[in-house]
């Protein structure tokens, strides 16, 4: 909507002032990667670099959450929050969850409340991980939409792009002395962005594909790669589901209470044999490779049909976390090779 720029230090000072009044989460280094932390006193915060290890869904639907009770308790709105440094892939991931929980026939009010009360400040991904492959999806590693505000680095300043009226309001609240963005600033930002994309291209040269992933998956129901990866290599650790920012499946666990019950909504995984198993023991996906294939079908075929794009952002978390050492890019590459004969 509008572009501004400001000194990086001034931006951070303003953010920490906000953090005294409301919940603001920023990125910090932890082990090999980044994680979100609640900002309080002024500390180091990573504005750019790359996506965090943890998927964005942790902020919107939790590994286990109380979702209903008997007798019924009144609904409570979620607290206001700001997420700082959200990468393009995680903003993309929210499109899938929004489709299911927010814009479908039936709204999930807890999710909706968390979304409505969370301000998303995106930032360009300047250092893609070795497992990142958003580029292979034809996506960019810098946010182009779905943010309230986005930040791009400019030497000692940050370029601020507002993407929603809410973002504009927040920016006004920060009370910064903003400068105009010049042609040269935009040129610099675009040059930087081309460089990040070049890095991604280099990382992913071995996995380049011709057909869209959706077409590859749709045409490969009989491919032998499913058995190689899904049966021989997959150890069913579920990292590819639990760590994936677009996976949203869940189960209920109802626990007895003195005079009623508490219902928890827990993340589930379609890789689990029990996921589709009926009480008779019958299941439509008996073999591990069939469940492995289903994970791809769901993201690249079924959801692609509904969304118009893959429900995979290329964030690479499933590759990073896989205990069976399976690289999704390689699987898709091998599938294309097979269907091309």
């Amino acid at each position: 909507m509008a572009y501004h720029k400001v000194k990086t230090e001034a931006w951070l000072d303003a953010i920490f002032r906000q953090a005294k009044e409301k919940a603001v989460y920023g990125l910090k280094r932890s082990g090999q990667g980044l994680v979100y932390q609640r900002l309080r006193e002024k500390t180091d915060v990573v504005l750019f670099e790359t996506r965090p290890t943890e998927p964005i869904k942790l902020f919107f639907y939790f590994p286990s959450e109380l979702t209903a009770t008997l007798p019924e308790e009144p609904f409570r709105e979620e607290e206001k929050r700001v997420l700082l440094g959200v990468k393009a892939c995680d903003l993309e991931a929210l499109k899938t969850a929004d489709f299911v929980y927010r814009f479908g026939d039936v709204v999930e009010p807890h999710y909706e409340s968390r979304r409505n009360n969370t301000l998303l400040i995106g930032s360009d991904c300047t250092q893609p991980n070795p497992t990142c492959f958003c580029s292979l999806h034809g996506r960019s590693c810098y946010p182009q939409d779905y943010f309230d505000i986005n930040l791009s680095p400019l030497n000692k300043e940050v370029m601020i792009e507002t993407g929603s009226p809410r973002g504009e309001e927040f920016l006004a609240e920060l009370n910064l002395s903003l400068s105009e963005v010049t042609e040269a600033d935009l040129k610099l930002r675009d040059k930087n962005r081309r460089e990040y994309m070049e890095k991604l291209k280099t990382i992913n040269t071995p996995f380049e594909h011709q057909k869209p992933y959706s077409e590859i998956v749709r045409k490969s129901s009989e491919a032998t790669a499913w058995k190689k990866y899904g049966q021989e290599m997959c150890v069913q650790c579920h990292a590819c589901n639990l760590g994936c920012p677009t996976c949203y499946c869940f189960s209920f666990s109802d626990l007895p209470e003195k005079s009623g019950m508490k219902r928890y909504k827990n993340w589930d995984s379609c890789l689990a044999a029990s996921f589709a198993q009926m009480s008779s023991g019958a299941t439509p996906r008996h073999n591990r490779w069939e469940r492995f294939r289903y994970h791809y079908y769901h993201k690249f075929d079924f959801l692609n049909t509904s969304l118009g794009f893959d429900a995979c952002t290329g964030c690479g978390r499933c590759i990073e976390g896989c205990l069976g050492k399976i690289d999704k890019r390689q699987v898709l590459f091998d599938l294309e090779k097979e269907i091309n004969g």
Binding site: Y248, S251, T305
Partner: protein
């Protein structure tokens, strides 16, 4: 505006428990205010703190004060349900899913084929059909069960329903009868489908039962000349949310809870493992 939590059950009172067969009981519960379902749709019933499971009401949709589900005891939730006495409090969500499209059945011969607890949704459908019998041609209701003891709705199947109207005809069969008490035909339910005396070209068939029965019945119906778009199947899948969020009930690209549970064979015949 108050937010509606779709995972929140409504509390209802269990009014009556009827033992139908050694493993199946019918539970009558008070309907919540403004509750209205159509035959073929399902509800999620929770035994508080024990679990929740999907069931298709077996009562008539025209009964607005109560609803009934007939439940086979097969696992944790159904076992807990079977142990309950009238007066117990249950959780109820729904109704969910698509109903039988009765508007497409008008003026036609209607064949219902059910086995075991699969008779539950068909009972609700049957009661809807007889409520407006003048709209339909002949109705053939073919019911099967493993043994005579396993038959549910015995009084209705054997006494009441056959006497409703000359347009209505029931055919019953059992897979086996060890003590010789059964005077009717013995064999799987597909056996009752010969010599139907229906105008197949102007007929729809509705099937509900265990997967193996649905499979062979469907093949038999195709053989008899039913077109895939005139064969209605009530599909079962593992379900959690019942409303299109959790993905447990995926049947190829369809979600059984939302796009079904009633499908025509035409809609799903090309999906993998539909009979699982």
């Amino acid at each position: 505006m108050a937010k509606i939590n779709p995972y929140q059950p409504y509390q209802v009172e269990l009014l009556k428990v009827t033992e139908e067969s050694p493993s199946i009981k019918t539970f009558t519960m008070a309907a919540p205010p403004n509750f209205h379902f159509l035959a073929g749709q399902f509800v999620e019933i929770a035994v508080p703190g024990k679990g929740e499971a999907p069931f298709t009401p077996s009562s008539s949709p025209y009964e607005t004060n109560y609803l009934e589900v007939s439940v086979a005891k097969v696992g944790a939730t159904t076992e807990a349900l079977h142990s309950l006495q009238p007066g117990a409090i249950l959780g109820l969500r729904g109704p969910f899913g698509k109903d039988y499209p009765l508007e497409k059945f008008t003026g036609k011969d209607i064949l219902l084929v059910g086995g075991g607890v699969g008779l539950a949704p068909l009972r609700s459908l049957f009661l809807s059909l007889v409520h407006e019998l003048h709209l339909f041609n002949k109705i053939r209701f073919c019911c099967g069960s493993r043994t005579p003891d396993d038959f549910i709705y015995k009084e209705h199947v054997f006494d009441h329903w056959p006497k409703i109207d000359p347009k209505v005809c029931l055919r019953v069969t059992v897979d086996r009868c060890d003590d010789g008490c059964w005077k009717g035909p013995i064999g799987v339910v597909t056996k009752t489908l010969d010599n139907l005396d229906l105008e197949i070209k102007n007929s729809v068939a509705v099937v509900c039962g265990p997967p193996i029965m649905m499979k062979f019945t469907t093949f038999k119906l195709l053989e008899l000349g039913y077109r895939p778009e005139n064969i209605y199947l009530s599909m079962e899948r593992m379900m959690v949310c019942g409303l299109g969020h959790c993905q447990h009930c995926g049947l190829g690209k369809h979600l059984v809870c939302k796009d079904g549970p009633v499908f025509t064979y035409q809609e799903i015949k090309d999906e993998p493992e539909i009979w699982a």
